[in-house]
Subunit: 232 residues, 2 copies
Amino acid sequence: MIATEQVSSLSIGIVLFPNVTQLDFTGPYEVFAKLPNVQLYLLAETPEPIRSDCGLTFLPDTTFAQAPALDVLFVPGGPGINAKMEDEKFLNFLKTQGKQARYVTAVCTGSLLLAGAGLLQGYRATTHWLSLDLLEILGVETVAQRVVIDRNRITGGGVTAGIDFGLALAAELFGEAIAQEIQLKIEYNPQPPFNSGSPQTAPAAVLARVTNASQNFQEIRRQIVQRVVTQL
Amino acid sequence: MIATEQVSSLSIGIVLFPNVTQLDFTGPYEVFAKLPNVQLYLLAETPEPIRSDCGLTFLPDTTFAQAPALDVLFVPGGPGINAKMEDEKFLNFLKTQGKQARYVTAVCTGSLLLAGAGLLQGYRATTHWLSLDLLEILGVETVAQRVVIDRNRITGGGVTAGIDFGLALAAELFGEAIAQEIQLKIEYNPQPPFNSGSPQTAPAAVLARVTNASQNFQEIRRQIVQRVVTQL
């Protein structure tokens, strides 16, 4: 926890890329924006609008080249990570920021990008359930848990885990009371209408359909991961 | 539930306005975008970018004037509803679409806008916990429940309730199996790190701080609601 007097302005950088999953970062963003004295940066390689995988488009406010030294580096996931796993310029930005950031964080398959930049090896971490085995291939000790905190690495599971992650990070940075206030403001009292949110609880037929539909995509991702791991 | 063969393309309109709370609609958006055969419209009065209350900016894709007859009308909330509660042009758009839409829906204080347009009177509905009494003043039978379905009116509680709402609407439109698949894809297996997400569960001191901090704003909103109710 950071004493409030130390924090004139805490910088949180959200790393965007084409085909990012928007809820991976819009969930945490709602939490981050309610923290006292933070400066949020929507970062991307160029100032061009970033189209998320489901169509919503976002305007970065800062390019990688113009980004300040971040206190918190945050990387969301999405289908677009496939291209970024082998993008040296992108990975170098994560490496540079990750070396000096106070917290190095990710949600969903953003963890694969952190691992691709060599920032999660030697740490326990998590990712979207469909890609846990790929994070393992990258040499990360994976934990099938909603939010994993290992020293200054904080990672969350798939997509909606970003809200749990955001609140956990809020508590790390400013203490539980601030995190609890934000939880109340955003009425985060979840009541999913179904119990299908994890491979352990989803009906078998639902799990089979989702797994089968993602098989080709996950196979391509596996091949990328296998190339990346030889470069680490 | 709508049979798939009937749905060549189901139109869902998301109504934006300045100072909307982005997670009110980015949560449901992630769910909507994964539905089969839907066309999503980010609607606003003008094509100008819409700045949300926490800073994220969105580009509407369709103006009110150009919007098609919507199958689903969806209204998020946020501080910006105050100005829209007395904006005749805005309310007329909701009235026109609400009269013919198959589903008339809202999350958070978007319900106050629906009520301001006369679309929730005679229905049971919900809103953000801080504004439940204001929805009552507008002549709506309020229910302190995460998601309320009353005939073709579907409303959700504050901010993060949009995800529960989105899945409930997905099930209404396309059946439980589709909703469960989406829940699994977005790993919606929430595990809030604290139990502070509702006024019933939040620590007393946390509830007091949030309630006190919102007092002036809620008083202004109450005055608006009291003016609006005389016009209904």
